[in-house]
Symmetry: C2
Subunit: 303 residues, 2 copies
Amino acid sequence: MSLLVSGWIAVDEIETPFGATGASLGGSATFTLFAGALFTDVRLLAAVGPDFPASMRAQLAHPRIDISGLTTEDGTTSRWGAKYGYDLNTREDLYTHVGVNETWQPEVPAAWRDTRSAVLSAAHPYVQRELSGQLTAKRATIMDTIRFYIANWPREILEVLGEATFVTMNDGEARELTGEASIAKATRNLLERGANAVIIKLGEYGAVYATKDEYFVAPGYPLEEVIDPTGAGDAFAGAFMGYLDSVEEITAVEIRRGILYGSTVASFCVEGLGPTRLFTLTRDEVEKRYRTFRALTRVEVDG
Amino acid sequence: MSLLVSGWIAVDEIETPFGATGASLGGSATFTLFAGALFTDVRLLAAVGPDFPASMRAQLAHPRIDISGLTTEDGTTSRWGAKYGYDLNTREDLYTHVGVNETWQPEVPAAWRDTRSAVLSAAHPYVQRELSGQLTAKRATIMDTIRFYIANWPREILEVLGEATFVTMNDGEARELTGEASIAKATRNLLERGANAVIIKLGEYGAVYATKDEYFVAPGYPLEEVIDPTGAGDAFAGAFMGYLDSVEEITAVEIRRGILYGSTVASFCVEGLGPTRLFTLTRDEVEKRYRTFRALTRVEVDG
């Protein structure tokens, strides 16, 4: 039982109307790791530069997170700065310094090749395919992508869609990649182009899950206070795959539960600046909110 | 068992990327009436001018719709023209001629004062309060509002919130009326200001229902083809209240079912230009889609 997480470990600077982080630990992998570690043992595969602060490395210490796959490469640690508008619906990317992640070719360590679950966070699609190929005993994987890769390598993304068990992106990205305005149509389009299962994240409105035979729509958890939306999608993927890694068999019901767990953990994530809320989040807190969430989406008393 | 519907009967001209209606039957009451008539007997309380075309009056003929409350007043029939952008997310209101509805003071006919259910569509809040007061045996009512009234009479709307069983508006309107960016907060704000129950319509993302003790989130029905979003909210209200009028007792479960029926009928509504799809929609079609909808929001097999 283990979940491999490949992605960025970065130094983020985020400004929101509710506060600013200053230079602090971030990157897709950070959010995914801590969300996944609520459910299972997690293995980090990522690169930083020699400039990566020891204090941030120390923040990654966690009994269920193995950071022996965090390598130090020549170059600089990835850095990202962003600023949110007053209602958090608009974000301005101030800068993105890709740094070591521009050229780094991740390789799954020999001892980890039998990991049964993996989150392959946004990366060049061929890198994601290569990583997927190195996992020889995988049971389920999820591949995420972002606007940057969609804008530059749309054809390559479509080419590798079938490599993962689940493909995920947000609604705007799905519209952009497929050219379809309707989410239902965009989803079907991705399935027709080879995806095995698609999860479209709708932000505060929840998520849609679809395969050729199934369709599941999960509403968003009704949060009163959102502090910082950064990393919510990565937390979703980490919790979703962490939960699935922990179950005996991946069934349609477990996938639906996993989506609600993903939404639940994402709802905690946005209550803090950067990944800070995830650092202190406990499984008990998750279970409590999960039960509340289930109750407020049920139509029938027994449902 | 009857549902009173007060609102506008209007002549609409709608342009979408998929076609234009030309001058045709519209107005909030039209959508609400036909949606309600799928579940119960409906009574129309509305005003038109002498210019209201006989052909449009003929379109209102329906075995379950009583149009004896449609009065002809001095002045002109309300008219509204709008044009949707290519992805239907942007709408330009080309013109709004309020006509007879500017000064008309609706009065519930004596024989209808014991109607047990009512949809009080968007109107001046004091008109809505007056109508509510005239219903002496009401079991449940819903009050809708729109940006026009929120912009001009926000204080008056807040003053009458408690008059209805349910208050409904869309997410943007709720944000504007309360000044709260989060839907969960806006909802709580409306409850604190006197609403008994609040339904926030989220368009393609579904709806939120809240009272002081309850919270229910229903996702949107995943439609592949949207032709014209006009009237979806009115169709929702008509079906929701029509369904509730038809049940023996209004319980928490019936309200949740009603919200899914409302979303289901709204999802048919947007498949046609103006209210045309509602003219031919049958209860069997509604039941079939309702069951599909229920299945794709269920987490557990038995839920």
